[in-house]
Symmetry: C4
Subunit: 242 residues, 4 copies
């Protein structure tokens, strides 16, 4: 096992533990990867290993062509989905600007409920607007041909297609629901990707509780969405210590 | 107390603690047993003892005729249900192939809710499909004659009848809801039977949250169910490290 | 402070901690008392003291006429409700047979929801039937005259009247919901009264989740209710180690 | 960093930790401030710092004109909302009587759900009546002009306007929901402001569960609301040890 990837393995490892610590999945139902843009490789959870048995050195190093570069275990069965998204981060519509370098997949129950109900989540409140000025997209159900092909790769392509159809870039909205499946989120690093997974679950829980009170509830007016988004994320953002 | 059954007692004991650790029942409301196919006996929780007072040596050893073979305490009041299921595992439609050797009964709240509402659970998402390619069956309400007879034995027979009517073997689906009562699950060992109980509760919670968003929600298309089931369980399964 | 009441104070103290440990109320919103039938007095939580600051010696000793016999603090504001129920246990329809000697009042959220919706809870499943063969009663809303009089005493009288109208004795059903308020439970000792409070909350949660799936869900048939009640509580009970 | 504000900083710090300890917000989504009426300044959480990294000395000291008086970090982005409310406590309708000297803002999920559904909370039960004899108000959605102006200051003004329109003083009801956003609560000190935030979340949870059982549920009769409010808060209050 090469020492070259120690830092990246540690980042991915801590991210995977974050899934368990934040209650975003039970047993092995989730995975986090972290990308190194200089080396063009990413570290990802091995397939089917429980969080409390996971070790740093178990993280598998995979390159952008999907080849295992280092590691003794098989990478996550969702590796192809991660790979397609990193490919898009690097070569896609961002023109090489790799602002996102970690991906998190979980099975948190409220996010799964919206995925299973195949519903996007309108911006019902400022908790959502603080983290994204748009609906959280939900993909279509994958068609039969794609599902029978390279299923995990097609999942990544379905996510990218969903963003293109909405005219959204993956930088504008770090969260998506895959219909009938569950959430994928991304971020600047593993901690941030897991943060977005926890935020998504909380937004979904709040939306679920809100819809129970009023199934026809209106979304926030655009001027409040804009205000909250910009105070945290715009050029004149004044939230936080930067 | 014979030392012959030490390993089996420990396995059943750890399984019973798992019910409490995973939050699948409060107080004494659940029980796990583990079967030894060579000796033809199983170890089961004693009746009415709380999880935090349970000791390894409290596990009661019972044979396939229902006779207590070893142990100072009375076995679980649900022992006859376990016994009938083991009988089916050994002598039933599997033709002697004992792939399942542990049973778990719990009162986890979402699974109980579907049992009380007497509803099977369609495959709404991949979390379910990863663990079974079929609806999770719910039995009929037991009829009066059976309930007034050997109630716990009849519960086991009701479960087996439910599978026969659906053309399902107990190996294809390790979970069932008993109408008006609650869940029974099984597995290759005690940890696996408890795993299935936790999985069932999570699937039920996700289904409950989904139905609240859309009471007419469609099940997953068959081709996605098949894909997820096979990537974890089919002859070409590629999930996990085996 | 007299040493005469040490054991009783300890029992009531442990019961009060049980409310917090079992998550049945936050802050000070609940109280447990324990009765000594020889001395004709009970120990009860002091008013407005948080569980994590409570000490054994804080328990207040009160007699059946409502006089504080020992203790430096004011007893719970609900003391009169407890007193009326003990009076009924001792002098009421049981003819002096004091089988119940502890009372627990909590504000657990699912039980409060049914209280606020002013609904009794039919026997939807065996979890309920294991603990009582009847609907869990909910009182009427207290009338204006009673509420303006000795409110807490009237709460106790309202509970007793609710049981009389249903032809139930307080021994047959150790739980009640006070409309617009919350649950009271009782038992053979403080641990048992708190056990019934935790059971009630779990039954209410299961009923709530069930009604969300089917608002018209049927209760269990009487023959299954009877079977489950009798296997735990009837003359031929076979549950537990006795 | 001046030692002048040590006590106030500690109070605000403990209050902010209370948000996390009581589960009222994840990550940084909440803030508590504490006011010193002699010095005319308040201590408030710094912007964007997570609870588990927060230190006492991080608390920022701000005066009633909004100027940072002491501290190395930027104050919470919600500082202007706190400032407007303190201004009202000091100079507003209370005529200088500063009974309230701490404010808590959280994003607890049930309170957010009612905020997002833009609903006031009627007094459905005694848990609510114990803490306030009135509906918990929900503001209108902020209009566009206000949202584009000094947004956080306008949030404070919207809260005050909501109370004026209802003929309520901020002393009579220590809780409010800001439509599309979430709850603000206040109290005699930081512990009490956080207490009110936890109480509000519990009342919202109970109301949510009640409305699921009966969307047309009636509020408590006025004579019971009055009774419960007065036994804890009226001139003849008899709850607690005072």
């Amino acid at each position: 096992m090469s020492k070259l990837y120690k830092g990246l393995r540690e980042e991915a490892f801590e991210g995977n533990l974050g899934i368990s610590k934040r209650g975003l999945a039970i047993y092995t139902w989730g995975n986090v990867s972290a990308y190194d843009s200089h080396k063009g490789i990413f570290a990802i959870k091995p397939s089917g290993v429980e969080y409390d048995k996971l070790k740093v050195e178990d993280m598998v190093i995979v390159d952008l062509e999907g080849k295992v570069v280092d590691g003794k275990l098989k990478p996550s069965s969702d590796t192809e989905t991660h790979r397609v998204l990193y490919h898009e981060f690097v070569h896609g519509s961002f023109g090489g600007k790799v602002a996102m370098r970690s991906i998190c997949h979980s099975h948190s129950p409220y996010a799964v409920a919206f995925s299973q109900a195949r519903r996007t989540i309108p911006v019902y409140g400022t908790t959502h607007a603080d983290h994204g000025a748009f609906e959280i997209p939900c993909t279509e159900i994958m068609d039969e041909e794609a599902a029978k092909g390279n299923y995990e790769l097609e999942t990544g392509k379905l996510i990218i297609k969903t963003f293109i159809l909405r005219g959204l870039s993956l930088l504008q909205m770090p969260m998506v629901l895959v219909a009938g499946h569950g959430p994928f989120t991304w971020g600047e690093n593993a901690a941030n990707a897991v943060y977005h997974a926890a935020v998504l679950e909380e937004i979904c829980k709040m939306a679920h509780l809100t819809l129970a009170l009023d199934p026809q509830v209106e979304a926030l007016p655009d001027y409040i969405i804009k205000k909250h988004w910009e105070r945290k994320n715009g050029p004149n953002a004044y939230y936080g210590q930067q």
